[in-house]
Amino acid sequence: MKGGLKKKIVKEIKVDLDKCSGCRACEIACSAFHARPKYSSINPARARIRVIKDELNDVYVPIRAGDYTPAECNGRHVYTINEKEYTECSFCGVSCPARDYFKEPDSGLPLKCDMCEDDPPLSEPLCVQVCRPDALTYVEREEEVGEEEVKRGEMEIGLESLANKYGLQKIMDTVARMSMSKKG
């Protein structure tokens, strides 16, 4: 399958925890970029990046929204780094039932970081651009991959979580009913 190898740009955001001042500008910029219309509102509750804070323990961790999972994980390790305690959740960007991070506050649907994909593309994701202390930095690297992954849209991700919750049939029934009533 050598011929199937393709070069792919992998986008990464590096986090330097020591540099985070906890200002949450990343959350604000993210929510503005993803508002529709773009920049029409800011609301950190809708952001796909969050600064997890435990101020009295000097823990400041910006994490990006990752995948949705219907179940919470069973392992809850506590790590001690430089005399500071971090739980596994401090570093985890998964939208899971154990907490209300990375869920649309109105619908409860999961949110996921898309690295600010835009047309024309941004030089860097907006959270990185606004992070003046450089706690967030953007790196691109090339990687060879077997096949281009099928990119899933936001709607598909959202629908999948609905399907997990209610079953696919119920969603199809609902969509059918909605389109009927719209026609009527």
Binding site: S21, G22, C23, A25, A35, I42, N43, K53, E55
Partner: protein
């Protein structure tokens, strides 16, 4: 549609346990913006002068500035307003952090608290769901510790909490309200404690409407970079290791005198070493690229955040080294004690002991070491134990309760309130006016736009003025003419006082931080926010049609309304004087002229009372009517015209 604001206040009656969400009048936003301005209107309407500060009818108002939760960088200040038992006047404080923006996203511009709870409670605001919850288990807990315990108990780590410590619970007059990396100082915690309200926790996830969001976002992005790059804003001093400005210019002990030759390179290195050892992180407030609050982890103390000049206030009051200051802040911050006034109260007590006014009978077991004495006194003050009961009322009242000549040692209060410990030589005209007439009780809340000292070199001065975008032209002229060791004219002094105050009244209404605006013009002359660019931020956020004159007019209205609150409670010309020994050389004749000129400039009568004409022109005719009814103004004072708005309605 309401823009930049939610249009709703939360009304809490702690006596009856009643909670209401009340829609506000959009016209008040046009007249007063928000924050301190609209809070002043509520205090005027609902707290008549007969209401004692400790009455259940006194209000405690938490306000968000108008621009909070918009993209405007550094607009994150919450305002706390009430009436103070220490001064019996209007009491005003501010704090940054994250509380205000969260409250706005929960759907409220203000929390208006009245009544008194029968037992210690806390308030939990989670969007539309608001509960008054038992706080019995939090009694005696530290202020920041309380925040962490509430987050844990609610399983809501994103809740923002403002809380009092033991000092507030025991109604100590120097009590603060603590939140995250910020403190509301100047004694507002005493009323929160009196109402038996230990804390307020808030979580909000709603959107805020912005009138012209894309345009606002665009200029805010640029402003964010400008603030980050601007070396003249933020807490410049706290980032420096060279403390010569404070230790050489500010007074030590109970605001007594300077210590000459204290500062040297050796001490600077030593102190810098201490700060590196205990400082863990420079932190920011919400949506601000400056990092003004240093997280401190001192051995065996709770972690806390150091802000501003509290880095030195305890050390200088006790004639100790910096290490002592970091140590005692670890205690006082958790008790929720004001880092400006408390050290003076402690130093005052030690002076009384040394003078034989307080004896071993009053202070049984009083240690011999000054540092230990400070810790000893703090424990008694926050519990109001023994002598601590009198000291907990601040220097002015404690001096009178203790008697035996203690009054002589109360020399740094003004309007019964502890002032920044400064003892200077020659009277300074604009500063005389700011001290004497300010409603905000501390010079740091009044000064800040016009430089404190002239620039000696003429070319440098011209260069400064050329880049001085923040200043109206008349100030450029006055500054160009200002030579070292020279007084400025009465006219200049009056205008400088007005401009300095105006910028604070704007910040305190819209929530922009004084470190980016009203306090930061005086060094470098390049505050990121000023009278010429602020109207655009406000207009784009709110949809209001606002220009520089319009913004100045609103600040004038708010300034007069706040003045009226104090006038109605008895404030008169005789109260308007700085601490007696603030300047060694006074000039009574000139001071009279200055005060006369300032009152005239403001449209106030000879007693410092806004005239009917002044009030009516600002749309405050309900104030002038009240003044006439109460006999504070007579009908023929201030040459009222028949054309004024107050009269229009009747004809």
């Amino acid at each position: 549609m309401r823009y930049a604001e939610t249009g709703f206040n939360l009304e809490i009656d702690l006596t009856r346990g009643n909670i209401e969400r009340v829609e506000t009048d959009p016209r008040l936003t046009e007249l007063h913006l928000g924050g301190q301005g609209t809070a002043g209107k509520i205090l005027w309407d609902r707290v008549p002068p007969e209401v004692e500060p400790f009455s259940p009818n006194n209000l405690l108002i938490f306000s968000t500035g108008l621009l909070l939760s918009t993209p405007v960088p550094g607009a994150n200040r919450s305002v706390v307003d009430t009436f103070s038992p220490q001064t019996n006047f209007y009491s005003h404080s501010l704090f940054g952090g994250f509380f205000g923006p969260e409250l706005k996203h929960a759907g409220y511009d203000k929390i208006v608290i009245r009544g008194k709870s029968p037992s210690l409670v806390y308030l939990w605001i989670n969007n539309d769901k608001v509960e008054i919850r038992d706080a019995g288990h939090l009694q005696g807990k530290g202020a920041l510790e309380t925040g962490a315990l509430i987050q844990e108990e609610l399983k809501e780590e994103k809740a923002q909490v403002a809380a009092i410590g033991l000092a507030g619970e025991n109604r100590v007059y120097m009590a603060t309200i603590e939140h995250s990396n910020s403190s509301a100082s100047r004694g507002v915690g005493v009323i929160m404690g009196d109402k038996r309200l230990k804390a307020i926790a808030v979580r909000g996830t709603k959107d805020i409407n912005i009138a012209r969001p894309a345009e606002l976002f665009e200029i805010c992005n640029r402003q964010y970079q400008e603030i980050y790059d601007n070396p003249y804003c933020g807490d410049i001093f706290l980032h420096e290791d060279d403390e010569s400005w404070h230790v050489d210019n500010f007074a030590w002990g109970n605001a007594r005198g300077r210590v000459k030759g204290y500062w040297n390179k050796e001490r600077e290195d030593k102190w810098a070493g201490i700060t590196r050892k205990v400082g863990v992180r420079w932190t920011s407030c919400y949506n601000c690229p400056k990092d003004c609050h240093l997280g401190i982890s001192y051995p065996k103390r709770h972690k806390y955040f150091m802000k501003c000049y509290s880095k030195l206030t305890y050390a200088m009051a006790a004639y100790q080294e910096l290490d002592f200051n970091y140590d005692i802040l670890g205690v006082t911050q958790e008790y929720g004690l004001d880092g400006f006034s408390t050290p003076q109260v402690l130093a005052f007590a030690i002076e009384l002991y040394e003078a034989g006014i307080l004896t071993d009978k009053d202070l049984p077991g009083f240690p011999s070491d000054t540092a230990e004495r400070f810790f000893w006194l703090v424990e008694r003050i926050v519990r109001r134990e023994g002598i601590g009961d009198a000291l907990a009322n601040g220097v002015y009242w404690a001096a009178r309760q203790i008697g035996k000549g203690a009054e002589e040692f109360d020399h740094n209060t003004m309007k019964k309130f502890e002032q920044v410990p400064l003892k200077l030589g020659m009277i300074n005209y604009p500063y005389f006016l700011m001290y004497a007439t300010g409603e905000k009780m501390n010079i740091t809340q009044i000064e800040g736009s016009y430089p404190q000292v002239p620039i000696a070199d003429k070319e440098e001065r011209e260069e400064f003025v050329k880049n001085w975008d923040a200043a109206p032209d008349r100030f450029k002229k006055w500054f160009l003419e200002w030579e070292p060791r020279q007084h400025q004219s009465i006219e200049a002094a009056v205008n400088i006082c007005d401009w300095n105050e105006t910028m604070h009244y704007i910040d305190d209404a819209i929530g922009t931080c004084a470190f980016l605006s009203s306090f930061r013009g005086q060094f470098g002359g390049r505050p990121p926010y000023h009278i010429y660019n602020l109207p655009n931020f406000v207009s784009l956020a709110t949809g209001m049609d606002l220009d520089t004159d319009g913004l100045w007019e609103i600040a004038r209205r708010n300034r007069n309304l706040i003045r009226a609150l104090n006038v109605r409670r008895g404030l008169r010309r005789s109260d308007e004087k700085p601490p007696a020994d603030h300047w060694k050389k006074r000039d009574p004749e000139m001071e009279t002229k200055l005060l006369d000129a300032y009152y005239e400039f403001r449209g106030w009568n000879n007693e410092g009372i806004p005239t009917k004409e002044t009030l009516d022109k600002l749309g405050l005719d309900y104030v002038s009517k009240d003044f006439v009814q109460r006999g504070i103004l007579t009908d023929n004072e201030g040459t009222p015209s028949k054309e004024t708005s107050a009269e229009k309605g009747k004809n």
